[in-house]
């Protein structure tokens, strides 16, 4: 065959006369996307995504089908070519239904692959599960214990009965990881010679350090306290997260080669400016350690303190066990911190612990389980009350402090959607206590961060996508930023994304993340009405009367058997082909918007009611009608089990006469570019 010369994107290439443009491009590592072409079968030209521009041709040419001719000048990177690719993808996506990712992953601020680790646990592959979780959360044993698990809130298993216990599974995986002799030790890239300072050794700082270290950078964490862990160490009580567990996970992180500098406080022992000068980049993950003011007369009195301060003192042993024996404690606030404070007070021996909250239990931001467990431990809930004055030494008080409480009722919903508390005029109540702990919020201690721009409510301003501050080399994440304190897993999610941004920054790349294109659907109970109802496994919780007396962990981990059973409850409702799917890969590569034309996919329900292929999972609503399976089965396998049914927009791919002809070779699933045909999950 004769050699020919063609030019693609300015490169002069040699090909053979009978070769297509696509073949020559592929041989020279020039990527031309294709969704319907395969070397083994005849040229088809249906998807049109491979179309390229050729000098002298008014039309775009399908690279898979057009034979190159000598002297051809091809471009694969023009506006027109890219627009065509985008259009093809946007049209295909408008007729493609599925969930690239399951709702648990979408709900998780750290984007943890819950479906993936559940599947691995179900198969007994705990090590692989640990590796998978660590890709998104480097502290799974700790987070598995403390996380209010938005993943479970989103879990579709509750359309059948109850959500999968994803947090407990994560805890199980984490415990497995720290319990084994050689815990997960990921590959660290070649040393980059770049230096990064992380301010704060909490979950955010530790995670940012971990992911940057994996990229081969030299990372130093500057921590004001004597130990790492931040709020996980000093804000979460021991009975929820034992110190030893946290420490083991911190050790794993440290063992990647991160430098820990404890007892270094910004604005005191060093300055942000200094760190900026000495490092290629800085990530501020300082947390929110100042308690918000109660803003009622008497809050300056002795015996009135803040929740964060109280938990810190309890954790560091400044408040000794049994200190509260016989005391009455009032805790103001309805969040998780307030619950931690109440329950810690109980464990310190308090006689009575009151929780004061201005709305009802339904509006409490704390986790339901936290409230229930606090109640079980004897906390007295005084809902619909609000402190209006704290006074000291009033006769005939038998306690040092008196709190005047305004009785409240619920009015119209406010901007948060919750019904706003309104005072019931003239109705008040007083209680007498030894101590008032306010846990109504927390914020950054701004000392040392004066150089950085702040919001009017005193948090650092960081870009929502890149986490950059007003200094291009200073990034900020976690409780110290923007909307303030949030759950630990949020800080971890931001940490990984910020680490990616920092990594790009270090190499002078655009720090903006590439847009993430995903396909999503809404599901109802009806979609799962074929599933057997299986009860949710819960981690066993100790008897309240017993657990209130000590600081030992209140519940235990799953056994392997429990974990595997629970993990197998996962509906696997996210696409199992997500990481191999060409459609979504290209959608991201060419920035195709899946909902540009809305999504009104054609009805493929007929396929489900007909014959099914052996050992193949068919998900017809993901089919993009590339015809690869039909053609491969006919031309290459020589069977013709699969065929097109119908015409035009309503066409579906359906097998027929399977029992006579299918030899179960699985090639149709291998060639399918999406998750429409997959080898059945064994």
């Amino acid at each position: 065959m004769n050699e020919i010369k063609i030019t693609i994107n300015g490169r002069e290439l040699i090909g053979l006369e009978a070769q297509t443009i696509l073949e020559i491009a592929q041989n020279n590592n020039i990527e031309i996307p294709t969704l319907c072409h395969d070397k083994r079968i005849e040229i088809y030209g249906a998807c049109g995504i491979c179309a390229v521009e050729a000098e002298g041709s008014p039309k775009l040419l399908r690279a898979c089908a057009v034979h190159a001719s000598d002297g051809m000048v091809i471009r694969t990177d023009t506006e027109r070519v890219l627009q065509n690719r985008k259009t093809v993808l946007e049209l295909l996506l408008s007729d493609h239904e599925g969930d690239c990712l399951p709702p648990c992953t979408l709900a998780c601020p750290a984007e943890t692959d819950c479906q993936g680790y559940a599947a691995l646990v179900a198969k007994g592959e705990y090590g692989k599960a640990a590796e998978l979780v660590m890709e998104k959360i480097p502290l799974p044993a700790s987070i598995g214990r403390v996380c209010p698990h938005p993943c479970e809130t989103a879990c579709r298993r509750q359309l059948v009965e109850e959500p999968v216990s994803l947090a407990s599974l994560k805890r199980f995986i984490g415990d497995y990881n720290i319990g084994r002799t050689a815990p997960c030790a990921p590959q660290i890239e070649q040393e980059s010679g770049k230096h990064i300072a992380i301010i704060g050794g909490g979950p955010g700082g530790l995670s940012a350090a971990y992911y940057l270290r994996l990229k081969g950078h030299t990372v130093t964490i500057y921590e004001a306290e004597s130990r790492m862990g931040g709020m996980l160490r000093y804000g979460i009580p021991e009975y929820r997260l034992p110190d030893s567990i946290l420490q083991k996970e911190i050790d794993i992180i440290q063992n990647t080669g991160i430098i820990f500098r404890n007892n270094v406080r910004i604005g005191q022992d060093t300055s942000l400016e200094e760190l900026r000068q000495n490092h290629d980049a800085v990530i501020v993950a300082a947390g929110a350690w100042s308690d918000s003011k109660l803003r009622c007369p008497g809050e300056e009195l002795d015996g009135v303190t803040g929740g964060i301060k109280f938990l810190y003192e309890a954790a560091t042993g400044k408040i000794k066990p049994e200190t509260f024996k016989g005391l009455k404690i009032a805790v103001v606030g309805g969040g998780n911190t307030a619950m931690d404070v109440c329950r810690t007070a109980v464990r310190l021996g308090a006689e009575k612990v009151y929780n004061i909250y201005r709305r009802t239990r339904n509006e409490m931001p704390a986790e339901e389980i936290e409230i229930t467990e606090a109640e079980e431990e004897g906390v007295i809930f005084k809902n619909l009350t609000n402190p209006i004055e704290i006074s000291a030494g009033k006769a005939p008080a038998d306690r040092p402090l008196t709190i005047r409480l305004q009785i409240m009722e619920l009015g119209e919903p406010d901007s948060s959607g919750r019904r706003a508390p309104v005072p019931v005029s003239g109705k008040e109540e007083t209680i007498e206590v030894d101590m008032v702990i306010s846990a109504i919020g927390q914020k950054l201690n701004p000392k040392g961060f004066e150089e950085l721009s702040m919001t009017k409510w005193g948090t650092l301003i960081a870009d929502g996508q890149t986490f950059q501050t007003n200094f291009s080399n200073v990034f900020a994440i976690g409780d110290a930023t923007n909307d303030g304190a949030d759950i630990a897993v949020s800080a971890i999610g931001e940490a990984r994304k910020a680490a990616e941004a920092v990594n790009k920054f270090l190499y002078g790349q655009d720090v903006n993340p590439s847009p993430k294109r995903l396909v999503k659907t809404e599901k109802t109970a009806e979609d799962f009405n074929d599933r057997e109802k299986l009860p949710r496994h819960k981690t066993p919780c100790r008897n309240p009367n017993e657990r209130r007396k000590d600081s030992l962990e209140i519940n235990s981990s799953f056994t392997a058997g429990q974990a595997e059973k629970e993990a197998s409850r996962c509906l696997a409702c996210g696409c199992l082909d997500f990481y191999d799917c060409k459609l979504i890969k290209y959608a991201n590569q060419f920035d195709a918007n899946p909902v540009k034309y809305g999504v009104s996919a054609h009805n493929r329900s007929d396929v489900k009611n007909k014959e099914t292929l052996p050992n193949i999972t068919q998900t017809p609503e993901k089919c993009i009608l590339c015809g690869l399976c039909v053609r491969l089965c006919e031309e290459e396998v020589g069977e013709g089990v699969l065929g097109f049914v119908g015409r035009g927009f309503g066409t579906v791919v359906m097998p027929a006469g399977i029992s006579d002809v299918c030899r179960d070779c699985g090639k149709c699933a291998e060639i399918c570019p999406t998750g429409a045909l997959m080898k059945a999950y064994q």
Binding site: G45, G48, K59, L60, R62, V88, L92, F644, R647, G648
Partner: protein, 594 residues
């Protein structure tokens, strides 16, 4: 002795639909039963003369009677017998006859004149002399040269030079990619899958003069060196299939088909393949797939059918009208054909005039006439003398040409400049009661339903366009919909695999070009000025005009009209389903639509 009058009844599908079969029965039965002593008139069925709006049509020698009903048949019988009669009440008016005189008939020359089921009548009109000449006197090269001289181009839509296709098929080696067990050969295929809505000239030829088309195929076969032909006919044309079958049998009897035609060594056999209902099979590669027993899905070209066609062998595909022109060209010379028409479009073209036209039917005129010539000159103008709004040309692949461009010359190039195309020659005439957005919606709905589903752009793109148009007509148009339509249209034109998809956006693009304001009215003004899009209409009763007859209230299917007897009525808009029944029944024109 008086000569027997020749009586013909137009029995094309259109004539039959208008009742021609009954008239034919009456005439032929009566004449047969009353064995006349003086003369024996014969009644024969002919095809469609093209004046469809006047059907049923009966000719008695040179007299033409129109809209003949049973009574009319009786009068005609009396006339034939020489009795006193009122047949003149049915005689065609002069202005209607002018329709024929305004035309130049080449492809339609025998339609409506000869009996298509009797080959002798075709032979009387010099039938098969062209084929004889081609087989016995001309070389294949001579034939192709003559066709080249004529400038004949494909009448099916694309307008590709016919000689070029023939030449390519002639030059293609028949041995190419042929499996050893199959004899290498070439094929002549007739595309009689006339699918453009609003075009029926091919049907008229098949039903009215099938031999002209057969003779054209025979000549083409001789030119490219083929001995086998296939006619792919729409299943919706049962009468055409019957007449073709008869024509083939008769041609075979006369040895115009078969072995050693005209005593030469030239063999040619023909068969008919009935389509099974798929518009896309008008596309040549899809047609071939269908002939091969496959789903009619087009494939990429090249290779072109002339290189690799039916059964992967060189094949020439032309449509009915193209072939039907060929015998005339051979008989009269290519230059005589080329003398008609314009610089780039030679000869004549048959147009199917339909829609809001007074004289709907077929019109064959030389290329280069203007749209107004055809609509007003031949077609007599708009029904009810309303205002011409636009002419849709080229079916789903074509576009709407506005009345202002009525002086546009009809030739391939000039039409293409308007955004429409010649297509197969359908001209759907629209007046001010036609909504152009609704027209675009209609065509996109059509192409979407007819898309084979192979390529993404056409399969999903036309669907999305159709959905957008559907919502605009349904009163739910959104800002940005016009731009979205334009963007989709451009991308579909560019990315579709075959001509069906590549041209599918044309109806939208032309209406957007000339009637953008109507789209804007629908979307931002929420009104349809043509009063066609129901969701955008509101019905109101004019109190001054309403006499309170209660008829509308009685007829309203939704119970949306209230009012007492002799008191003006009112329409409750929430209940109104906009069926228009009240407008239809009101005798006082009291219901207004806005």
């Amino acid at each position: 002795m008086k000569t027997s009058p020749k009586i013909t009844v137009g029995k094309g599908s259109c004539g039959i639909a208008a009742g021609a079969s009954e008239i034919f029965e009456i005439l032929s039965n009566t004449i047969a039963n009353h064995a006349p002593d003086v003369f024996t008139p014969s009644v024969s069925a002919v095809g469609c003369i093209g004046m469809c709006y006047l059907e049923p049509i009966v000719n008695v020698d040179d007299k033409t009677f129109i809209k003949v009903d049973q009574k009319g048949a009786g009068e005609i019988l009396k006339l034939i017998k020489g009795e006193e009669n009122h047949a003149e009440n049915y005689e065609i008016r002069r202005e209607d006859l002018e329709i024929l005189s305004a035309q130049t008939r080449v492809a339609l020359q025998n339609c409506g004149i000869i009996n298509p089921e009797d080959i002798r009548e075709y032979i009387e009109k010099d039938g098969y002399t062209a084929a004889r000449k081609c087989v016995l006197e001309m070389s294949p090269e001579d034939i192709i040269a003559e066709i080249k001289t004529s400038g004949l181009s494909g009448r099916g839509g694309a307008g590709f030079p016919t000689w070029f296709k023939w030449q390519a098929a002639r030059n293609a080696s028949a041995g190419n990619s042929v499996s050893p067990e199959r004899k290498a050969k070439k094929y002549i295929i007739c595309n009689a899958d006339e699918g453009d809505p609003g075009a029926f000239m091919d049907r008229a030829i098949l039903e009215g003069d099938p031999h002209a088309m057969l003779e054209g195929m025979l000549i083409a076969a001789r030119a490219i060196g083929s001995d086998e032909g296939i006619i792919y006919v729409r299943a919706e044309y049962p009468l055409a299939i019957i007449r073709l079958e008869k024509a083939i049998v008769q041609a075979r009897e006369k040895n115009f088909l078969g072995e050693n035609i005209f005593g030469s060594d030239f063999n040619f056999n023909l068969r008919i393949k009935a389509g099974a209902g798929a518009f896309v099979c008008g596309e040549e590669t899809a047609l071939i797939a269908s002939l091969e027993g496959q789903r009619g899905m087009p494939r990429l070209k090249p290779p072109f059918p002339a290189q690799e066609g039916y059964r992967k062998m060189p094949s020439n595909i032309n449509n009915v009208e193209t072939y039907a022109n060929v015998p005339w060209i051979i008989r009269n010379g290519g230059s005589k054909f080329a003398a008609m028409g314009t610089e780039n479009s030679k000869g004549t073209k048959v147009f199917a005039l339909t829609g809001k036209i007074k004289k709907g039917g077929l019109a064959e005129v030389p290329m280069g006439k203007t749209i107004n010539d055809v609509v007003f000159g031949v077609g007599g103008g708009i029904q009810g003398d309303r205002k011409l709004k636009a002419v849709q040309m080229g079916g789903p692949s074509g576009g709407c040409i506005p009345a202002e461009l009525g002086n546009t010359q009809i030739d391939y190039r000039t039409l293409a400049q308007t955004g429409a195309i010649m297509g197969s020659g359908g001209m759907v005439v629209m007046d001010d009661t036609t909504c152009m957005v609704d027209m675009a919606r209609f065509f996109l709905d059509f192409t979407c339903k007819e898309s084979c589903g192979k390529c993404v752009h056409c399969r999903i793109g036309t669907r999305r366009m159709s959905e957008i148009l559907e919502r605009i007509c349904g009163g739910e148009g959104r800002d940005g919909d016009i731009e979205l339509l334009e963007e989709l249209a451009e991308n579909i034109k560019q990315g579709s695999l075959c001509a069906l998809g590549q041209t599918a956006p044309n109806p939208v693009l032309t209406t957007l070009r000339y009637f953008r304001n109507e789209y804007e009215d629908h979307i931002t003004g929420r009104k349809c000025t043509a009063l066609q899009c129901k969701a955008l209409l509101s019905y109101n009763i004019e109190p001054k005009a309403c006499v309170g007859c209660t008829l509308c209230a009685k007829k309203c299917p939704a119970g949306a009209i209230t009012g007492a007897v002799k008191v003006p009525h009112k329409i409750i808009h929430d209940k109104c389903v906009k069926c228009g029944e009240c407008v239809n029944v009101c005798k006082f024109n009291a219901v207004a639509i806005n």
